[in-house]
């Protein structure tokens, strides 16, 4: 992984919140250690090399792989944790999964108002100010300093998958070809893991994935086509656009 | 052309004993400059984040920014020093301002070089490249850096050409031409500060303040060195009325004009004079009055010290003249005692001649010591008419031929036995002034009673 994270906790007393936050971040660190593709000694790397037998897998790895299986089945194979060259790439699942775990820690600790942004995946709870939800901007693929739209979220998750950071890293598992139908896909869902997986899948599926996602747990979808046009589904209304 | 000194006693005679001379206060200009530097330091401090220093290159760059900020502020001070702002002139005096300008110039140029070096070195460390590779990288990524580069080159050119060694070899006009390009350099270098400087990019207050600082400086130059002098020129309407050789390389130039009375020039002061004719138009020179100006006439006596001064002998009557000033605090007002000693050498005899007239007119008792290499070099000698209150002591002869220095303490005491009770005004070449000051100090004249003006 290796991603920047920010946490916004309005009006919290510092010491108790700090401890919670530390725990939450520890969850993210642990996930990173386990699932880092760039670290040859991480569990996922060793598993990919076949050094770990199915019975020796950690619960986390097992869970992540299960999620990946399900997502692959639901998308007709478009979503896949196997790259065309056969190597294992769990990033599409792990980021959201780990971030959701961190969110669970915060909730368990009693926080009801917060906004976590883990490398672009957002989990929001409660209201930052009375009367409005969290305003989550959707990054403009062309310019990291601008947003295309602002979505208001209370108790939900927003995840974005896009080609503008890492280039062609998302493959359509059905064809083995790099995904090219969309430049970015943003999904709003109840939890981060779902949102993350859906976002990656929508990107892999292309424009047809926008409506598909609505049937598989997405409350709203915002997708950007290569020519710059924006298509939406669900509760993301046109007037939310900047 | 000779004039006689007035002999009539004044209405009120000045005190016979030495009154306590006012101590020269530390100039407000100096204080303001120091305060400004401290303010710049504080500005840098609050804008530099310590995290930067986690990498050594970051710390170097931050200190480099401090050097740049200081240099930038001092550039404004440097320009203001010679902007001929009347408040500065009255408070500090033209000659001191020029001396400060010279010193500060060295400091500024060195600080600019330091800034450039630190930014390159620090950046090279941060980017893990050689300093040589860092330069094009910086030029590519920072805004207006090419402009700043040209500006820096101009700064260096001005700095190098003004160094004592170089300045001696250059013709005044060439040196002055190079010097003028500093304005271009300042302008070019300004933008990279506002557009890319860390402390400015993040604070619009800082940008506004800096723009105000530079605008005020530019405005001062415009007003007091361009607009007002032009207006004055039209108002005063000065022209050359006569050119009189005074022997041994000295030439007197008489000026007349309707607006002369508005000049309020005093004996001992000098004007910045620009003759509006071919060959003289390009530069203005400081020339001292050699006579108390009357309502319609003024006289300057000029020594042949350089290309320009020699050409003065060829001026034609009727030539228009633009003047600025008067400048200088080498005036009769500074005399705190009834008895006064005036020492003049070379072209310094001009202001001495004017001061003698003024002081006698005010009731002082004056002794004039006139130093020259040869007897026929004693210019204006005929104007010092002996009288009960004016004694004229010519001291011609080269030291090598005489075998002694007539201005040494022992000889000076023989010439003027009561020198300890006199205020001393000395005007002439720097070496002569040094000797005289040393001698009279040794003879008991307090430092506050010695007044000096360098010519040549």
């Amino acid at each position: 992984m290796g991603i920047p994270m920010s946490l916004d906790v309005p009006g919290a007393r510092r010491a108790p919140a700090w401890a919670l936050v530390t725990d939450a971040f520890e969850v993210l660190h642990a996930a990173n250690r386990r699932f880092s593709r760039f670290d040859p000694s991480s569990e996922v790397s060793r598993y990919g090399r076949g050094e770990i037998a199915p019975g020796e897998m950690s619960d986390d790895l097992r869970e992540v792989l299960a999620v990946a299986e399900r997502a692959s089945a639901d998308s007709g194979g478009a979503f896949s944790v196997r790259r065309p060259d056969g190597s294992l790439d769990t990033d599409g699942v792990v980021k959201g999964w780990a971030a959701q775990r961190a969110v669970d820690v915060l909730r368990a600790g009693g926080l009801t108002r917060f906004c976590l942004n883990a490398g672009g995946d957002v989990a929001a709870a409660g209201e930052p100010e009375p009367g409005r939800g969290w305003n989550v901007g959707v990054r403009d693929p062309a310019d990291g300093r601008r947003v295309l739209a602002v979505l208001e979220v209370r108790d939900g998750a927003v995840a974005t998958s896009g080609l503008y950071e890492r280039g062609n890293h998302v493959w359509d598992g059905r064809t083995g070809e790099p995904a090219s139908g969309l430049v970015s896909a943003t999904v709003v869902a109840a939890d981060l893991m779902t949102a993350d997986v859906l976002a990656t899948t929508v990107l892999a599926l292309g424009p047809e994935g926008v409506d598909w996602a609505r049937d598989h747990g997405a409350a709203a979808v915002v997708a950007v086509l290569p020519d710059g046009r924006v298509t939406t589904a669900g509760t993301a209304r046109e007037d939310a656009f900047v | 052309m000779t004039t006689t000194t007035r002999v009539a006693p004044p209405a009120v005679a000045p005190a016979a004993t030495r009154s306590p001379a006012p101590r020269r206060r530390t100039s407000a200009v100096l204080v303001a400059t120091w305060l400004g530097c401290v303010a710049v330091l504080a500005f840098w401090w609050q804008g530099a984040s310590p995290s930067v220093a986690a990498a050594p290159g970051g710390a170097l760059m931050s200190v480099g920014e401090l050097a740049g900020l200081l240099a930038s502020f001092l550039v404004c001070v440097q320009v203001l020093l010679i902007a001929r702002v009347p408040w500065f002139e009255r408070s500090v005096g033209f000659d001191r301002l020029v001396a400060w300008h010279r010193s500060l110039g060295t400091t500024v140029v060195l600080l600019v070089v330091t800034h450039v070096l630190l930014m390159i070195l620090g950046g090279a460390l941060l980017d893990r490249v050689s300093a040589w590779a860092e330069v094009p990288a910086v030029l590519r990524t920072q805004p207006y850096l090419w402009w700043a580069l040209v500006g820096t080159v101009l700064f260096l050119a001005v700095g190098v050409s003004s160094a004592r060694l170089a300045r001696r070899r250059l013709r005044y006009e060439v040196w002055f031409g190079i010097h003028l390009t500093i304005y271009v350099g300042i302008f070019l270098a300004f933008f990279h500060q506002i557009a890319g400087g860390t402390h400015f990019v993040s604070s619009s207050w800082a940008r506004v303040a800096w723009i105000l600082l530079y605008s005020a400086t530019g405005g001062a130059i415009l007003v007091w060195r361009v607009v007002l002098p032009l207006l004055d020129h039209r108002r005063l309407g000065l022209r050359v009325s006569a050119v009189v050789p005074e022997g041994r390389g000295l030439v007197s130039v008489w000026l007349s004009g309707g607006g002369l009375s508005q000049l309020h020039a005093q004996a001992g002061q000098h004007l910045l004079v620009r003759f509006m004719t071919r060959g003289h138009l390009g530069t203005a020179h400081p020339y001292s009055l050699s006579m108390v100006p009357t309502g319609d006439r003024l006289r300057l006596t000029i020594g042949a010290l350089g290309d320009h001064s020699t050409a003065v002998a060829g001026l034609r009557p009727g030539t228009r003249v633009q003047v600025e000033g008067p400048f200088g605090r080498f005036t009769a007002d500074r005399a705190s005692t009834h008895q006064v000693l005036l020492v003049g050498g070379g072209a310094g005899i001009g202001p001495v001649r004017a001061l003698a007239e003024e002081l006698v007119g005010r009731g002082h008792e004056v002794v004039v010591v006139h130093r020259a290499h040869t007897a026929d070099g004693l210019a204006l000698a005929g104007e010092f008419t002996e009288s009960p209150r004016l004694r004229y002591l010519p001291v011609p002869g080269r030291r090598a031929e005489l075998g002694y220095d007539p201005l040494s303490a022992a000889h000076l005491r023989a010439l003027v036995p009561d020198v300890a009770a006199r205020d001393v005004f000395v005007c002439g070449p720097p070496a002569m002034i040094t000797t005289v000051v040393r001698s009279v100090r040794a003879l008991g004249v307090p430092a506050a009673a010695i007044h000096r003006e360098e010519i040549g």
Binding site: M1, G2, I3, P4, M5, S6, P10, G11, A12, R14, A15, W18, V21, F25, L28, H29, N32, S36, F38, D39, N117, G120, V122, P128, V136, G137, R139, V147, V150, V158, A159, L163, Y164, E165, R166, V242 | L41, W45, Q46, G47, A48, S49, P50, S51, V52, A53, A54, A55, V63, L66, L104, G105, T106, L110, L111, G123, D127, V201, S202, S203
Partner: protein, 192 residues
């Protein structure tokens, strides 16, 4: 006219001495390695004020890609209270924050990304983030890698869209710290 011939040079030497002293006073205390557990650092901050409105955020960079996993102590986030995010006279933490003895600098682990190693350093002044600096950046992409203090203040300045639309956070595919730093999210975090 050379009454004091070396005065200018002496002035310069004095100025250099003053600058060196200032630099040492400002920077000498910063250790390049990480500090102790975040909880301890949090309580050393001075401001404990809570605002009724919004506005606290912390940032940390996660992840160790390298084999030297120095556990969770390397990174942390803070909950902090600062001005509102409404674009009113909010604290301009981009480049104008004052440094106090409460400054805490936390240096993240070196993260291995597909482009190379990235390492971030985050400074908290009390509760607010005052600086994010990249200590190591990937060796490719030379032009964009030069992350210096200027990039952050520039972002802070240009995050006008965030001000007017009251954006709290941005969802985007930021997989590298580089992308983060150049993103609006970074600017939002900077403002606190």
């Amino acid at each position: 006219m050379a009454a004091r011939p070396w005065r200018g040079t002496l002035l310069y030497v004095g100025a250099v001495a003053a600058m060196a002293a200032a630099g040492i006073a400002k920077f000498a205390g910063v250790a390049p390695e990480v500090a102790a557990a975040p909880a301890a650092e949090a309580t050393t901050g001075s401001s404990g004020t809570e605002s009724s409105g919004t506005g606290s955020s912390g940032t940390g960079s996660s992840g160790t890609g390298s084999s030297s996993a120095a556990a969770g102590s390397a990174d942390s986030s803070g909950s902090s209270d600062s001005g509102t995010t409404d674009g009113a006279a909010g604290t301009d933490t981009g480049g104008g924050a004052s440094s106090s003895s409460d400054d805490v600098t936390i240096v993240g682990d070196v993260e291995q990304t597909r482009y190379g190693p990235i390492q971030l350093s985050v400074t908290f002044s009390g509760d607010t983030i005052t600086d994010i600096t990249a200590l190591q950046t990937p060796s490719r992409e030379r032009e964009s890698e030069r992350i210096n203090q200027q990039a952050v203040p520039v972002l802070t300045q240009e995050a006008l869209a965030a001000q007017s639309a009251k954006i709290d956070t941005v969802s985007g595919a930021t997989y590298t710290s580089q992308g983060y730093l150049e993103s609006l999210q970074s600017a939002i975090d900077q403002r606190g």
